[in-house]
């Protein structure tokens, strides 16, 4: 198992996580993915990369360092993103009953292993 696959495996073990993707921030392309049926990995990658890029610029505009973690919350769940080294972003799609606290900790810990 590669380091990237190990990271995805670790995140998707958290209850309520429907899938996880490693995305290249620059172009929104999928580097690796581990998804349940029905989750569109390419959409998750492209849309989240774009949104995270905008939020990085927003934080920088406010005089802050880039975000370590982002949560986009919707009616039916959330998209979680943890920007990592080498312009990679670890993204997870989670259901409404997911353990968000655990998912957050696992992602922040795991994304550092993508280097």
């Amino acid at each position: 198992m590669t380091a990237t696959q190990a990271v995805l495996d670790r995140v998707t073990r958290v209850p309520g996580v429907r899938g996880a993707v490693v995305v290249a921030a620059a172009d929104g392309l999928v580097v690796a993915e581990q998804l349940m049926d029905g989750v569109d990995g390419q959409a998750a990658a492209a849309l989240t990369a774009s949104l995270v890029g905008r939020l990085v610029r927003t934080a920088e505009g406010a005089g802050m360092r880039p975000p370590a973690f982002v949560q986009l919350r919707g009616d039916g769940g959330s998209v979680l993103a943890a920007p990592g080294p080498q312009d990679l972003v670890l993204v997870a799609v989670v259901g409404p009953d997911a353990n968000l606290g655990l998912a957050r900790l696992e992602m922040i810990e795991a994304v550092g292993r993508l280097a």
């Binding site: 959409a43 998750a44 949104l51 505009g61 406010a62 802050m64 919350r73 039916g76 769940g77 959330s78």
Partner: protein, 281 residues
């Protein structure tokens, strides 16, 4: 230096006559490397003075640097080369709005709407500005022709800063709360940067179109409508919410305040914003 910037720098060095400067300067600008972005844009503009893209790029860089007069000149040049350029029309409208000249801002937005009737954010802003003008809000800054801009015409007029008391009932008052319309124009609130200066307009500009982008993401991923975005930086916690369909509210606090409490603050501020927006017609 990121890989994309490195690759673009190499490409521009190999082909100095190429248009790679457009991508490189924009990438640098987005990363906040404004001085480097300016140098690249200036070099490209010297080589391609007849290229509207180059003037548009220079305007964005100068606007980010706070050189609003320079940005105005550059967007005006872009429009002289390409009168249908909506990004430049919106940029000029933004600068007129900042100067307190809502009538001129409205005129440019209406031109942008004629060019791009499919952009839903433009008519929303037109409606709001029109309502403000009908309500008798004074267009206090002198209006000069866009063809003959001058710094005084677009100098920010602090008396026209919208809604100074919008969040006066909130913890911390206006500071750290920002209400932004769909075009990235500040409607109220204040946001201090690392040096203490107000960076509200700069941050507001980054939030243009955020709501549509978030809505698209949650919809395509089967997550329904979006409610909030929480952003954790080592230097602060940000929460974004949507008081109405065409506005975004940003709450920013020190990282010592737990994210959950920043979220509650954002919800209260969103309610205050909704109430205020209703009174604005």
């Amino acid at each position: 230096m990121t890989d994309d910037i490195r690759a673009l720098t190499t490409r521009l060095a190999d082909e100095p006559g190429s248009l790679a400067f457009l991508e490189l300067a924009e990438a640098l600008r987005r990363r906040g490397q404004l001085e480097a972005a300016y140098k690249v844009a200036r070099g490209g503009l010297a080589r391609y003075p007849g290229l509207a893209d180059a003037h548009d790029l220079m305007a964005r860089v100068l606007s980010d640097q706070g050189d609003l007069a320079g940005a105005f000149d550059a967007w005006t040049s872009a429009l002289q080369l390409d009168p249908m350029r909506t990004s430049a029309l919106k940029g000029v409208a933004f600068l007129y709005f900042r100067a307190g000249d809502k009538a001129a801002a409205l005129d440019h937005l209406q031109r942008a709407h004629e060019v791009d009737p499919d952009d839903p954010a433009i008519p929303q802003t037109i409606a709001r500005l029109s309502a403000q003008l009908r309500a008798g809000a004074p267009a206090s800054a002198p209006v000069e022709s866009a063809a003959a801009p001058s710094a005084p015409a677009i100098a920010p007029d602090s008396s026209e800063r919208p809604s100074p008391g919008l969040f006066h009932d909130m913890d911390g008052g206006e500071q750290g709360l920002l209400l932004v319309d769909a075009n990235g124009l500040r409607l109220g609130g204040r946001l201090g940067g690392a040096d203490g200066n107000d960076v509200g307009d700069r941050v507001a500009a980054q939030l243009a179109g955020l709501s549509r982008e978030a809505a698209r993401a949650t919809r395509l991923l089967g997550l329904g409508s979006w409610h909030s975005i929480a952003v954790e930086s080592p230097d602060g916690h940000l929460v974004l919410t949507q008081p109405t369909a065409d506005t975004v509210l940003l709450a920013a606090r020190d990282p010592s305040l737990p994210m959950g409490r920043v979220g509650l603050l954002a919800e209260r501020a969103a309610r205050a914003a909704r109430t205020w927006l209703e009174t604005q017609g």
